[in-house]
Structures are given as C-alpha cells and as structure tokens.
Amino acid sequence: MPNKITLKNISKVFTRDERDVQALIDINIDVKEGEFLSIVGPSGCGKSTLLNIISGLLKPTTGEILLDGELLRGINTKIGYTTQKDNLLPWRTTRQNIEIGLELREVTRSERRSQAIELINRVGLAGFEDHFPNELSGGMRKRASLARTLIYNPDVLLMDEPFSAVDAQTRLILENQLLELWSGTGNTIIFVTHDLEEAISLSDRVIVFSARPGTAKAANSIPLARPRDTIKIRFNEDFIKIYERIWKDLEEEVGKAEELKTRAELEKARKDQEKFRASFDENTGL
C-alpha cells in the first residue's frame, strides 16, 4: 500500500506568556492508504495539536506534510476532522447539520436529503433527523458529528478522542459502529485517544506518544484479524499480550506527564503568589 500521509520532521512551538513551549518535536510518521492508525499518549502530549496541524488549521513550526505524495498547504477537504467536542451547529437539525458538507459543495437539495437520510439510518439516528443538537444525547451527537464528516467522503479521517465524553457502554457500541462504517471504504483514519484498549481494539497500528514535547516513541502493529468485535476482542489472549507490551511504554510517559503537570501547576501557583505580593506592595506603597 502506498503512503497516504507522510509527516516529516514536524515540530510545534507555542509562545505563552512570552515563554516558548515545545509541544511537538521531530515527528516522522507514514500513514498507509486504508490504514487505521491510533495515537495514544498522556494528556497534554500534543496529540490534538498534531491533528490540528494535519487538518491545516494550525501551521507547524517546522516540517511538512505530504498527502498522496504532494505537499499539503492549508486546509484540504480530502481530510475530514471529527473534533473532541461534537461542534454541531446548534440552530440546525440533525439532518441539516449532516447535510452541510454537501451544501457547501452545492449538491442539489433532494440529493443532499437522500444522502443524509441514508447516513442517518446507517449511524442509527433514524427518528431524530429533525431534532436539534440540544435535543440529542451525547452519543447521538457523536454519531451526528461523525455522519457530518462521512457524508462528503474524505479520504482521510482525523478523529480526536471522539468518544471520550460518552459513557462506557455507549462507547463500546459507537466503536463497533465506527468499524462497520469504515470497513470496505478504503479510507485512512488517524485516531487520537488516551484509552489504550480503545486504540488496540480499533487499529491496525498504535503509536505511543511521549509526554511533552510530544513525539512518536514507539509504533506497534496490531495483528488481530478483522472484522473485529470491539467488545469480544478484549478477552482475546493476543489482545492482552499486546496490551501489556504497549502499556509498559505508555505507563512511563503517563508518569512523566503527571510530573510535568504538577511542576507546571506549582510554578503557576508560585507566580500567582508573586504577582499578588507585587500588587499588594504597590497598592500599600511599600
């Protein structure tokens, strides 16, 4: 399979409070066409930043991205992006939200509608097409947001912890549904999560990210047969072995991230105190 997406030496530096924070460093990843790739890592490791960069919403500080061997500049509609929040337009009904990709491509009204209805049925939202996002449950909103991306059939799907906000049972159902929707399409998926079980059960390959500055620490291919049932597969012996192996890599990074986070919080508290003292001295004339 040829490479669908190539990330070359990607790094990203943010400037916050006049200080540079290295969010990502030296990222080199090849994603094959039709591959389901997961990125797992501790929170704050820059996973979401990487997806923002691939989607074209954010510019990397260094490095380049190739899509089908060609340099990617800015936003490309061959790449669909499902963000962590569902970000449905609250004033549009489920169907109108799902249709928006076709609306922007000037597809006729009747064609839009029939495609949207078909997809609504496939993601299990039948009966809710005329509801507003406010009238849907968290899981339904996730499905609607997924359908909104699928409807214009992007070659590459970026998914940022799409199921993190739904309860554990709904999550298992949504994961299976995602695999069903994806199988046979040949689409490439880059899936970001902090849930290792989820990553293994869905993916062809799992990349572990290090704590900040985030970089690809280890890649593990998942040689489990498809089609998979994301619930049953968790009791598979191979699954457990793979889990244990990857967890060792991940555990270390989670520990580091924890340490970083605590340090940052302490630093912030110290600074706030200093600021307070300075303003106090100023105000009292000392």
């Binding site: 989607s55 919403l57 509609t77 669909g80 970000n87 004033w91 928006i100 990709g101 406010n134 214009y152």
Partner: protein, 275 residues
C-alpha cells in the same frame, strides 16, 4: 400535559378575579372625600376611605372616557401616529444597529479605536437629545422617530456586537475544514450564532421604542398618545389621563406577548434536553 393546562387555566382564573377585585376596590374608594374619625383621648385620627375622583378617577369614568375616545375616532388617530413613530423608529434603529454591530464586530482594531466614543454617546441620556432633534427635525413625527431610533440603535448595536464577538471559534474551524470559504462561514456560522443576541436586542428595543415615541410627544407635539396625555393633564381631566395610560399599557403588553411568542417559535433550538 393535561394537568399542566388545567393548572394554567386555574391560574388565569385567579388572575382575572384579582383584577376584578382591584377594579371594584378602586371604584368603591373613589368618591367625595370621606374619613373615618377616631377619637382617642386627646388625639384625633382621620383615615380616608374615599378619595376625590380628581386624584384617582374611577374605573367606570375611565371606561366611559375610553368609549368616547373610540367613538369620536380620536383614539385611532392618536394611537396610529404613536405606533407609526414607534415602528419606523424601531426599524431604522434596529437595522443600523445590526449593520454597524456586525461590521464593527468583524473589525477588531477599528472597534477598539472608536469604542470610548460610542460608549460616551451611549452613556448620554437619550432623552437629553430631544432638544437637538427638535432643532434638526422640527416638532413633527420625524423627531419622535429619531428619539425612538437612537434608543433602539444602541440596544441592538451592543447586542449584535456581543454576538459577533462570542461566536465559537471551534464551530468556525469545523466548518472551515468541511470546506467553507469566508463568505460561507459568515453566512452559515457567524450570522446564525448572533441571532439570539440580536433578538435580545429587539426584545429590549421594542418597549423602548414605545417609550421614545411617547416621551418625544410629551416634549413637543400636537398629535399622538403623548400629546393626548398632556392635553388631559392640562384640563385636569384625570379620567382622560388614566384612559390614555391604560391604552399604552395594553399596547406594551401585546408587544411583549408577541415578542415572547416569536422567540419561543424561532429559538426552539435553544431549548432542549440540557435546558
């Protein structure tokens, strides 16, 4: 659902009874001044139980005055002028408020530069502009329209500006990734997300446009509900004053009901599981 509508029916019944009781009480205490006198040792306490109609008029008199006003066609004449001023003033003020609010909302630097000046004009009591408007527009209908318009303008302007500024950047990003250009983002994301804000401006602006029109008429004019108020007050005709106030109250109440109804219909998407 049935229980609920029964409850509302009962509540409305109680409300009507309360209103009738109030009117009855009013009718009863209106009459030749009379006091209940209580002698207590060296003190005399006088409690009024009837008040001269000169001060408070009475519901029956007010109703007969309303009937008179309606029959003579005076009410229709003056009321239509006030409502005309109010509507034209509202439309001009609201349209300018939306346009300028939208425009400044997109021009961050310009908005920062002009902000203190707009704020300064905003802080001015708008009624104080009336003398200036008399110089500019005379004492005709234009002057009242101008007062109503400027009051409505600021209410709608500040709300629109707030709406444009609070558009969720994530929504914009998501739609951009799906393939929208700047114009489509404006039309499909920015504009709809300001609707509730603009509507809040309208909601505040509608009663204020009535206030603007009536106050303008109180200051200088020869027609409209404000004029009628001044006339009756000049003749010491309390029943007439109350009759005009009553009509204004009805107009304001109808407007409020209409706005609330429209809001419920248009903003259905805001109510849902989470609210």
């Amino acid at each position: 659902m049935k229980e609920k509508s029964k409850g509302i029916l009962k509540l409305n019944g109680q409300r009507i009874l309360f209103g009738i009781a109030l009117l009855l009480l009013w009718e009863l205490i209106s009459g030749e001044a009379a006091y209940l006198t209580i002698n207590f040792q060296a003190f005399t306490i006088r409690i009024p139980y009837q008040i001269e109609p000169f001060w408070i008029s009475s519901p029956s008199e007010i109703i007969s005055r309303l009937v008179e006003l309606t029959k003579s066609g005076q009410l229709t004449f003056h009321l239509s002028i006030t409502i005309f001023e109010m509507i034209v003033g509202f439309v001009i003020g609201a349209a300018l408020g939306i346009l300028i609010g939208f425009w400044l909302g997109r021009k961050v630097t310009l908005a920062k530069i002009v902000d203190p000046y707009i704020m300064a004009v905003y802080s001015l009591p708008k009624i104080a502009l009336a003398p200036l408007f008399i110089l500019w527009f005379g004492i005709g209908v234009d002057m009242k329209i101008a007062i109503a318009a400027i009051i409505v303008f600021f209410l709608v302007f500040y709300n629109t500006l707030g709406g444009v500024r609070s558009v969720d950047p994530e929504l914009v990003d998501v739609i951009r990734v799906i393939g929208a250009n700047e114009r489509e983002i404006l039309r499909k994301v920015v504009l709809p997300s300001t609707y509730p804000w603009i509507f809040t401006g309208f909601k505040l602006g509608i009663p204020y446009s009535l206030i603007g029109a009536v106050v303008g008429e109180l200051i200088a004019t020869n027609k409209g509900m404000g004029y009628l108020l001044m006339e009756y007050s000049g003749w010491f005709d309390t029943a007439g004053v109350f009759a005009v106030l009553f009509v204004l109250m009805i107009v304001a109440t109808i407007l409020n009901l209409a706005v609330n109804y429209t809001e419920d219909r248009l903003m259905r998407w805001r109510h849902g599981l989470s609210s």
